[in-house]
Symmetry: C2
Subunit: 269 residues, 2 copies
């Protein structure tokens, strides 16, 4: 069985892509096969692992997968490393939302492609765009779990309730098994009292939801947080994950631990 995780937050610049790529790489380093599906018209995850090298123009992308029923998941998979693959995006994905809107099963395209696809991967990580549109809905319909990257800032808290509301709606109407696994704190500065307060707020909130029937009744804040580390911002410019670029950097240590946590959770489940 495969664990499908949607990396979701409608706020921009919170660490979705950085977490998708480096968590995937951390899981791959444990010898577990991982697939990244880049659902973002900005194609940052694709840029991050592949760099700016000449792409094979015949390489099918996530749009072919979503829009053309002739394409299967395995047609669109490109190898990054021994245990790491990607279904790439490209920057005209923006037109996809319009084209998807015209299809009868527009929310379910990704779910169907994954269900019909081969199960060689143990983990599938979905990098979502910063929006609650059709691409994100496809991710939520296809996923078992949602991870929410965010900064421990006051303004970042403001978007969380809308996010949870969307997850709840998808669970109700489309995907009953969908649950929020938890929050990944990104670009974290654990020294400041402000971030401590925001983390405490989040944890109190999740605690208070434990006995409810919501999609987030078993959600938690993942520890340790991912510290701010310039190496994480540099490695995309070399088309490398943090483990290829600077494997002893704090950013690598933090994503390594998150990867171990995620794999251990999965093995226990």
């Amino acid at each position: 069985p495969v664990r499908v995780i949607a990396m979701m937050n409608q706020k921009g610049g919170v660490g979705k892509t950085t977490t998708t790529v480096n968590l995937a790489a951390a899981i791959a380093r444990q010898g577990r096969k991982v697939l990244i599906i880049d659902l973002d018209p900005q194609a940052h995850a694709t840029l991050h692992v592949a760099g700016e090298r000449e792409d094979d123009p015949d390489q099918p992308t996530v749009y072919d997968l979503l829009l053309d029923s002739d394409f299967e998941l395995s047609d669109c998979v490109r190898q990054v490393d021994e245990f790491l693959d990607i279904v790439p995006a490209e920057t005209d994905l923006a037109a996809v939302e319009t084209e998807l809107a015209g299809l009868g099963d527009r929310n379910q395209r990704l779910a169907r492609a994954i269900a019909a696809g081969s199960t060689e991967h143990e983990f599938i990580l979905l990098d979502c765009p910063p929006a609650l549109g059709l691409l994100t809905l496809n991710a939520l319909a296809a996923a078992q779990e949602v991870m929410i990257p965010m900064q421990a800032h006051f303004l970042a808290l403001q978007g969380v309730s809308k996010l949870l509301e969307t997850v709840g709606l998808v669970r109700e109407q489309i995907n009953p098994r969908l649950r929020v696994a938890g929050v990944v704190l990104c670009m974290h500065d654990s020294q400041t009292s402000h971030s401590k307060e925001v983390v405490a707020d989040l944890e109190r909130f999740f605690e208070s939801q434990r006995n409810t029937a919501t999609a987030w009744n078993s959600a938690r804040v993942y520890h340790p947080a991912i510290r701010r580390n310039i190496k994480l911002a540099e490695c995309p410019s070399f088309g490398q994950t943090i483990f290829q670029y600077a494997m002893w950097a704090p950013g690598a240590m933090d994503y390594k631990k998150l990867g171990e946590t995620i794999v251990a959770e999965w093995d226990r489940a």
Copy 2:
């Protein structure tokens, strides 16, 4: 005459709101009257200056201004401080894009409201949402200048060409006087070689555009950059600008200098 500046970047979480609010406050501290117009359905600028206090339910918002020709600019202005006012947003602004789409002059609503409005303000700062939709287009149609807040990161550079392309199109089709004033570096870590390289990239690019007929042929990177400073992330939770919250903090010093630069540019022009 009034200087209308659109604080624009389709990428999320780059510092648009933090810059709109604190640059406006810095200009106000020089005794120059400033109006913030909050164009973002997240209403973060509104939250930032007003906090979570009970809003006057009869307070007209930017939606009334955009959708209802019966509302004039002065009807929607709320005082924040002696020299600082705001036209607030509210979180159902999301419906506005759909309603705006139905109007004949949907890109021009804000421009008309400002042109028809009183000229008591010397500066009007427009806080844009992280999108290139109708709200941002209204800002670009109404503005004389665009300021681009961004982080000096590799992935942040990827969105700049699309942004400039949009500004160019608006200049061509709707607003011939529109120009890019420059980039405000936010959450800046000047110590790292990565950010130095990204800044050098940006400056080289702007230099190369000096003799072109583009909307950005006189654009520059504003110095000094705005350093990362947790106080800037804290003050929104108290409904305060950085000058009310921590006026000797590095964040206050940086926005104070930016405010002096902007006012001096204006006085020389």
